[in-house]
């Protein structure tokens, strides 16, 4: 039984790290620019399809494909910000307008993927084969690589936010754009950077997931889970996103094993409800005093 419990922890942490990666990017966008970017999951799907296309159709090596799968969603995110959200941010009721625009993008990109790729299943062959086993605990090498890459990128994100002038600017803008502007930080540029980095993280997550799981146009629906993770961790809190992502992974892993699929999902909602009841801003976030609509 002990080995099963440890195995479930390993499974849950591996599952949770992907949620952490995605939630960090989503958090960056909503925390800094205030955009509830519901089309975020489609950038995850896009990253996976780009990696699949490059590796399967053009035989491009994995790491090169992964770079492209990260860069293209990042560039697209930047373009979308400049064309749509920058304009919306100068309007009244920018929050609701932003949601409408994000929903439109979600549908547009989803339908375009259906048209372009069809409903057939796609997959990338395993890049790193083999299994590691110790004390009855098993983990595939490809999953270990996924975990390592996710951790490396999260560390990079942490360094970007804490040790660079761009990161300091982002944190300042997330606190108060007007005060940050008085200190010489360009909020518009910072919003753009948060969108680019956030979408890059989504593309990267899609890219590292593709060889382990499968690629389909429905992948973008993960955004709903990510939204819950961000709510649980607290909007704008990176550490909160990490804790919440891991809680989600572990809850699903243990829940699926012990109480079944449907109840596991109910359990996760119950955990969120319980925490948000006592901490309305999430685990490490601040309660929102007014809705920025």
């Amino acid at each position: 039984m002990a080995s099963i419990l440890v195995q479930l922890v390993v499974d849950g942490l591996a599952m949770g790290l992907v949620y952490v990666l995605l939630a960090s990017g989503f958090n960056l966008i909503i925390g800094i620019s205030g955009i509830l970017f519901l089309a975020y999951g489609q950038f995850y799907m896009l990253g996976a399809y780009i990696l699949w296309g490059l590796m399967v159709l053009f035989k491009v090596p994995f790491f090169v494909s992964l770079c492209v799968a990260t860069a293209v969603p990042a560039i697209l995110g930047g373009i979308i910000y400049k064309l749509i959200f920058q304009r919306i941010q100068s309007m009244k009721r920018q929050f609701l307008n932003g949601i409408v625009a994000a929903l439109g993008l979600l549908t547009l990109i989803g339908q375009a993927a259906l048209l372009g790729f069809g409903t057939s299943s796609r997959g990338v062959g395993s890049i790193f084969t083999g299994m590691l086993e110790a004390g009855g605990i098993r983990i595939s090498v490809e999953r270990l690589v996924l975990i390592t890459l996710a951790l490396a990128v999260l560390l990079g994100l942490h360094l970007l936010l804490q040790r660079t002038s761009i990161g300091r600017g982002m944190r300042a803008v997330s606190f108060n754009p007007d005060i940050a502007a008085l200190q010489g930080v360009n909020p518009g540029r910072t919003f753009l950077v948060s969108m680019v980095v956030g979408c890059a993280l989504a593309g990267f997550a899609g890219g590292i997931m593709a060889p382990v799981f499968a690629v389909s146009p429905g992948m973008g629906s993960i955004v709903l889970l990510i939204l819950l993770v961000v709510m649980l961790g607290g909007v704008g809190s990176m550490i909160g996103a990490i804790i919440a992502g891991l809680i989600l992974g572990l809850t699903l892993s243990f829940g699926q094993y012990f109480i079944g699929t449907g109840l596991a999902q109910i359990l996760f909602f119950a955990v969120i409800g319980f925490i948000v009841f006592f901490r309305p801003g999430g685990l490490l976030g601040q309660p929102m005093e007014e809705l920025p609509i």
């Binding site: 099963i4 195995q7 479930l8 499974d11 849950g12 591996a14 599952m15 749509i84 304009r87 919306i88 100068s90 309007m91 009244k92 307008n97 409408v100 625009a101 439109g104 993008l105 549908t107 547009l108 339908q111 375009a112 259906l114 048209l115 069809g118 409903t119 057939s120 299943s121 796609r122 997959g123 990338v124 062959g125 395993s126 084969t129 299994m131 086993e133 098993r138 595939s140 999953r143 799981f213 499968a214 389909s216 429905g218 629906s221 699903l252 892993s253 243990f254 699926q256 094993y257 079944g260 699929t261 449907g262 999902q265």
Partner: protein
């Protein structure tokens, strides 16, 4: 002014979404009939209208439509249906049921009263409209596992797909072939069909001497099966089976179970699908998997002529064979054989032929109509197909056994799967 810009922006986005939606082939928005026009219009050749009702928005329904759009014109090209001294070209009248009973009934009303169709290839919506076809003496050959379609009160309604018969008979084959294998863990999607499948196994296994050690349900869109695989390993069954989740989920469930260290037998009783699985990932994790094989996967030397002709017709129309899951196109072949054997377009005569043990040949293998004592129906109203069992060895298909429809029927009688048959 800003509000005006927003309106323009939203308007442009809505327009773009509408254009994309209109162009999307997976979700047809009209129920208007489409027809495959006869390829020749020689005056001496008559036309026979056949209705096709399926869900165009569902991959299997769409594949059925695509498949028939290729093979029916090819059948017409080859001379069509010969009855007495007359020749008939088949005019397929197609309607989208949208898997919605009301839409389906409206479509059948149009087929019966407007198009004056006397033969329908129907789908899972049949419960909503078989009273109408019965009343109007329209022969309906269905792809549904609804017990209502097997009622002894019906005269013109037949189940033409493998849905009711394949699972029990394939498990009966398994129980005989691997008598030492007793404990089974089944993995199914946590949805209506998944629960129905698992329930069917629960009911069937005691008859066959098998033990269902655990049923693992997963959310239908799951791609991370690690926790579920750990659960399978906790039972460590002799046999693991996964079915009904679709190509991605079936493949990934096996992959993760193997990664979790499972070394037992994997039995995919709904079918081994090397074509589909190879699109998801390498075939290594599914090597050794045993299951029924679609005839379209058979090696050329074992492939029947009718299967090869169908594949050729599909390739001629669409340019390539993209492994369509045209399972429900079976019904077309059943109707074709019934008409040819009845040598009549009279629905009463065609129904009589079907209800009297019709044997038929399809692109997916030959089959026969059987009665259902468990439904108190002595007429042969359900379809039983021959099946080929195969495994994957190093990614290659290896045929293990070919079980004729007669042999399959013997298994059904032996285990009293559908009740006791009279001698």
């Amino acid at each position: 002014m800003k509000g005006g810009k927003l309106l323009v922006l939203v308007g442009v986005m809505l327009l773009a979404i509408s254009l994309v939606a209109i162009g999307c082939p997976a979700a047809p928005t009209t129920t208007a009939p489409t027809t495959t026009a006869p390829t020749t219009t020689a005056p001496e050749v008559k036309t026979l209208k056949v209705g096709l009702l399926c869900n165009f928005g569902w991959p299997l329904g769409l594949d059925m439509k695509k498949f028939l759009d290729a093979v029916v014109p090819a059948y017409n090209e080859a001379g069509g249906l010969a009855i007495g001294g007359d020749r008939y070209k088949i005019d397929l009248i197609e309607y989208d049921s949208k898997n919605d009973p009301e839409t389906a009934r409206a479509a059948v009303e149009r087929m019966v009263y407007q198009d004056e169709v006397k033969f329908i290839l129907g789908d899972i919506t049949a419960d909503a409209w078989i009273s109408l076809t019965e009343e109007n003496k329209v022969v309906s050959i269905l792809s549904t596992n609804s017990p209502a379609a097997l009622s002894p009160n019906l005269k013109y309604t037949f189940q033409g797909s493998y849905l009711n018969t394949s699972t029990p008979v394939i498990w009966a084959w398994f129980a005989e072939k691997y008598p030492e294998m007793k404990t089974v863990v089944n993995m199914s999607p946590d949805a209506l069909q998944g629960h129905a499948d698992a329930g069917a196994l629960q009911a069937l296994f005691p008859t066959l001497g098998l033990e269902l050690a655990d049923i693992v349900y997963y959310p239908p869109e799951t791609t991370d099966f690690s926790a579920f695989a750990t659960k399978v390993m906790a039972s460590n069954p002799q046999v693991f089976c996964s079915a009904g989740g679709g190509t991605i989920q079936d493949y990934l469930s096996v992959k993760f179970v193997r990664e979790a260290g499972y070394e037992g037998l994997v039995f995919m009783y709904r079918g081994v699908d090397p074509g589909g699985w190879s699109k998801v990932g390498p075939l290594d994790p599914v090597n050794g998997t045993i299951g029924p094989l679609m005839y379209t996967y058979l090696p050329p030397e074992l492939m029947p002529a009718i299967t090869k002709e169908s594949k050729d017709a599909y390739i001629a129309k669409y340019g390539s064979w993209d492994d369509p899951v045209a399972l429900f196109a079976f019904t077309w072949y059943v109707l074709q054989d019934a008409l040819e054997k009845a040598q009549s377009l009279d629905p009463d005569k065609v129904a009589q032929v079907m209800a009297s043990g019709l044997k038929f040949d399809t692109a997916y293998g030959p089959g026969m109509m059987i009665s259902r004592p468990d439904q108190d129906n002595p007429r042969t109203i359900d379809a039983l197909y021959e099946f080929t069992m195969a495994t994957l060895e190093e990614g290659e298909i290896k045929v293990l056994d070919q079980v004729s429809a007669d042999k399959a029927f013997e298994l059904i009688k032996k285990y009293e799967i559908f009740g006791v048959y009279p001698d």
